[in-house]
């Protein structure tokens, strides 16, 4: 394992031209698949847990790309904590072995409240994980039930407390807002609850209705009311108020953190950084090449066992695409992007081409300049798609 000191400002949540190197590991298993979820995850594949872990380890071991030591590692799902802490630790060790992990790197694992206790957190900390992202989603019982979650509000709060007792100091609570079942008071209660629980980071995601989910069918057949964008915008504002009052800063559309606890891995995505991805359906990006693995766990395992590639597809970005894409991604961050660094990385031409559009958007108050930085005006946060698509 190579050793380097991660600079302290690495977790400020600011856009960076050199955001480090990330490793994403996907665990595609759930006890129960929620009706709104369109992630790559599967129920009832317990028999595959062990072979999948073996395959992941083997796939990491045989990674042939050139990669610097990881500055962030993220285990996402699915429900990673359906696996034993020991299994997760084995995979993390393989990453350390093959890729190298910088000292002070941010190493996150997603946690479902009903799958963990203090001993589990203890084991995960021992294995090297230093940040937990807990899927609280809501603290309103009827919302949790309607979302199809398997935990109660008490269990969620208990998980946050257990993590802290085990010594965790980097805790994120994932929340979902603006579901059709949520009343304004429910949302405030959820926010206040996770703040009071002592989290350092909150991810608050508006419920989006993705095609091909059961929720989409329920809504399109009129059995569940549709989500209301206006209400969601309202709730986003409420989240910002409460979190700001509690000392959190919003550093990305849906993410708030206390000082120095922004997710480095998240910022890396929005800074168009490089990352490797392991596991079924995992995505990776290195220097303009994006690729992704086969989605089915069984196929992933089989490919590794046969020692053939798990890659299911790729795209090679033209140089002319990379600049606009970096701009589109960077504007998700509250800091916006530093135009000088963008120009050095991707050339000046794409910025010159977009200068009139940028000026117009600045003129109408939708974008802001601060020195050489360009960012969304605060009131544009929830309108990012409409604005950013003009800059593609």
């Amino acid at each position: 394992m190579s050793v380097a000191i991660a600079p302290a400002r690495a977790r400020s949540g600011q856009w960076s031209a050199e955001p480090g190197f990330g490793v994403y590991v996907h665990i595609p298993f759930c006890r129960h698949r929620c009706h709104y979820c369109d992630f790559n995850t599967y129920e009832g594949l317990d028999a595959l847990f062990a072979p999948y872990v073996d395959a992941l380890v083997a796939d990491i071991d045989r990674f042939e790309g050139e990669a610097p030591p990881a500055t962030s590692v993220f285990f996402g799902g699915g429900t990673p904590t359906l696996l034993e802490p020991g299994q997760l630790g084995r995979i993390l060790a393989a990453v350390g072995q093959r890729m190298g992990i910088e000292r002070g790197a941010e190493i996150t694992v997603e946690v479902n409240p009903e799958t963990v206790d203090e001993a589990a957190f203890d084991a995960l900390l021992t294995a090297g994980f230093n940040r937990f992202s807990v899927g609280v989603q809501s603290l309103a019982p009827h919302v949790l039930e309607a979302l199809g979650r398997e935990h109660s509000a008490e269990v969620a709060l208990a998980a946050l407390a257990a993590a802290q007792r085990a010594g965790a100091t980097d805790l994120n609570a994932d929340l979902i807002y603006g579901s059709p079942w949520e009343r304004p008071g429910d949302w405030v209660r959820s926010l206040e609850g996770v703040i009071a629980a002592g989290t350092q980071h909150v991810s608050a995601y508006a419920l989006s209705v993705e095609e091909s989910t059961p929720l989409h069918t329920l809504i399109s057949t009129g059995r569940v009311p549709d989500v209301d964008g206006d209400v969601q915008a309202e709730r986003h504002g409420v989240a910002h108020e409460h979190l700001q009052a509690a000392g959190f800063q919003r550093y990305e559309t849906s993410n708030w953190a206390v000082d120095g606890r922004a997710s480095r891995h998240n910022v890396l995505y929005w800074s168009a950084g490089n990352y490797a991805g392991f596991g079924a359906g995992a995505h990776a990006h290195i220097d303009g090449r994006r690729w992704w693995s086969v989605r089915l766990p069984r196929e992933f395992i089989s490919a590794v066992e046969r020692d053939v590639t798990t890659e299911a597809g790729y795209e090679q970005l033209e140089d002319s695409q990379r600049g606009p894409e970096a701009l589109m991604l960077g504007l998700r961050l509250t800091s916006g992007v530093e135009l000088g660094a963008l120009a050095r990385a991707y050339g000046e031409e794409f910025l010159a081409e977009r200068a009139p559009t940028i000026e117009q958007l600045v003129g109408s108050g939708l974008l802001e300049r601060a020195g050489s930085w360009l960012r969304l005006a605060p009131r544009s946060t929830m309108l990012g798609n409409d604005i950013v698509c003009r800059l593609l």
């Binding site: 969601q232 991805g277 995505h283 929830m382």
Partner: protein, 604 residues
């Protein structure tokens, strides 16, 4: 043939009362068409007519009929158009006749249009033979409607013929009646040639085919001839008769009906109502009743795809070859791009042109709301014509606006008298007369602005009278009115396609309807979009499309940035297809929807 044995007749009937079927039966009974060749509705020419079951262009056919008196008669059957838009054409067809068959559905009674045409025929001094058709139908009420007809034309109910054109019942007797009652033509065979053009169609192979009736003298093949009104001088390449297929002949004598092909390529050079004479007689006194075709209804027609503009121009050029009444000039609209302002005889004519453009030329079109032609008296004293609301000058620059009025005739069951009067009154109608056809049916005469009729009046009339009332109207000159132009503005930018000229009292309704409609059609933007209706600078209605508040994806799923970019690329492509009105992005479909006439009654 000598004049004594000639008869020229037309059938006047409402749509669906069986004119074409009767014509077919006459062709069959006189042996003009063999049974084997009989196609239903032989005389209707175009597909479109066949599909709609209506006759747009008249045709004339010669039948030789051996009567009970042992002599052979030449019966010329002149078909007449059956819609209000073609009233002038009907009058010319009637002018070419000596008698008419008044054909009425025995289950429905006489309708407004038939009544108008009957009055035309009576005014022209034509012999009228009243006929009830479809007596084989279970719903037929021959006694009731026979009585009505007898009263109308002043005959005994027993004199009304009862036939079934479908089965042929009574049609043989009808032929005898035609020979007996319809007078023979009275022209002067020794006088110089004068022939009346009563129809004119364009044929892709032969050029213009003019249908005419020789009033005086005779016309010979290869003769040098002249059209008096247009001044065109040509050689008669071919003259002939239709029986019903064309048969060239050497000459047409006084009273005979036939066709003329002369190398003319555009129907506007051989117009309906013009007089044909010999070239050395070109200063002959023209036959009475000629009129220039006058467009009454105007609309902008635009290709949905801007690239199709040249195709649309070519299509209109081709269509004009056989449609003397169609006029058009290029115009451009910020909302709709490049297109043409077109003038039509009426709404049906407009619909036919549009349908032909789409069908025969494979174009996809948007039409603005139809308007009428206005005359504006400028402060400076000049009088200008305005066919497009956006051409209406600023209110300070004119003294007065004049709009076309029409005499409206509605025939309705008396149960609906009040309904009809209320409808007409609401459209600025002025009651002229009422006349009871029978205790159950009444004809009501109104004078009304044409502009009020072209906004779904017919639909309203039909729906409010459960389909029983029928409508006809004819031009009644221009009258001064209190008209204003209402503009529709998006975020303070006027959208030309939605400007309209309406009566001052209707301006608010129009403004409210359009602003409400647009509020529903324009997607929410990054900022509030005010939609205003205004007369000059005075806003009379306002709606707001509230700014959208959320348009952002919550997260980036597991680093899948490709998916996020594709989503945004689709959104960008969607923007590219929108029309930009100032800073407002409007989908093309919003214009099409907003202009969709007018089921919920803008202007009503």
């Amino acid at each position: 043939m000598d004049q004594k044995h000639q008869r020229a007749i037309a059938v006047i009937a409402h749509i669906d009362h069986g004119k074409s079927t009767l014509s077919d039966r006459l062709l069959q009974l006189t042996g003009t068409v063999g049974d084997r060749d009989m196609r239903a509705q032989y005389l209707d020419r175009m597909d479109l007519e066949r599909e709609r079951g209506i006759t747009i262009k008249a045709a004339a056919v010669r039948m030789n009929y051996e009567a009970d008196d042992g002599k052979t008669y030449q019966i010329n059957l002149i078909d007449t158009p059956g819609h209000v838009d073609f009233g002038y054409e009907v009058s010319r067809s009637l002018a070419a006749c000596d008698g008419v068959l008044l054909l009425v559905d025995a289950a429905q009674g006489i309708e407004a249009q038939t009544l108008t045409n009957l009055y035309l025929a009576v005014d022209a001094g034509l012999e009228v033979i009243p006929i009830l058709n479809k007596i084989d139908l279970p719903a037929a009420q021959p006694d009731r409607y026979g009585h009505e007809l007898a009263q109308l034309i002043g005959c005994e109910p027993e004199e009304v013929h009862r036939i079934s054109a479908k089965t042929g019942e009574g049609v043989a007797e009808l032929l005898e009646e035609i020979v007996r009652r319809v007078p023979s033509p009275k022209g002067d065979p020794e006088a110089p040639l004068r022939a009346l053009v009563f129809d004119s169609i364009y044929d892709a192979y032969r050029g213009v085919i003019a249908y005419l009736r020789v009033v005086d003298g005779r016309i010979r093949s290869r003769e040098e001839i002249a059209f008096v009104a247009t001044g065109v001088e040509v050689e008669a390449d071919e003259i002939g008769i239709m029986a019903p297929d064309p048969i060239p002949v050497n000459q047409l004598e006084t009273g005979e009906v036939g066709y003329l092909i002369s190398g003319i390529k555009e129907v506007r050079l051989a117009k309906v109502g013009d007089t044909v004479t010999t070239r050395h007689n070109r200063n002959a006194e023209p036959l009475p009743g000629y009129r220039e075709p006058k467009p009454m209804v105007f609309a902008g027609i635009y290709p949905v795809e801007g690239d199709d503009f040249p195709l649309l121009r070519d299509a209109l050029d081709k269509l004009q070859l056989n449609d003397a009444a169609l006029v058009y000039e290029p115009e451009s609209s910020t909302a709709l791009g490049f297109g043409f302002r077109c003038g039509f005889l009426g709404l049906l004519h407009m619909e036919i042109v549009r349908e032909r453009l789409e069908r025969e030329f494979d174009l996809s079109l948007i039409a603005t709301a139809p308007s009428v032609g206005y005359e504006i008296e400028l402060t400076a004293g000049d009088r200008i014509e305005v066919h497009n609301p956006t051409d209406m000058p600023d209110p300070s620059k004119f003294e007065a606006v004049y709009e076309p009025f029409v005499d409206v005739l509605v025939v309705t069951p008396t149960d609906y008298t009040g309904t009809v009067m209320q409808l007409c009154q609401g459209r600025r109608g002025d009651l002229q007369a009422m006349n009871y056809l029978s205790p159950e049916r009444v004809e009501i005469h109104y004078q009304m602005p044409l502009g009020e009729i072209i906004f779904d009046f017919f639909d309203q009339l039909k729906s409010q009278t459960k389909g029983y009332a029928s409508l006809d109207y004819e031009p009644a000159g221009m009258r001064q009115s209190k008209l204003v132009r209402v503009d529709v503005l998006l975020n303070a930018q006027p959208v030309d396609a939605f400007s309209t000229i309406v009566h001052r009292d209707k301006a608010y309704d129009y403004g409210k309807t359009m602003t409400e409609r647009l509020r529903k059609l324009i997607p929410r933007q990054l900022f509030d979009v005010p939609i205003q209706a205004a007369i000059g600078s005075r806003v009379i209605a306002r709606e707001t499309v509230k700014a959208k508040r959320k348009d952002v994806t919550a997260k980036c799923y597991g680093g899948d940035i490709t998916r996020k970019r594709k989503l945004l690329e689709r959104q960008k492509e969607g923007k590219r297809r929108m029309k930009q009105i100032g800073t407002v992005e409007v989908p093309q479909t919003a214009f099409i929807e907003a202009l969709r006439v007018d089921s919920d009654g803008a202007g009503s």
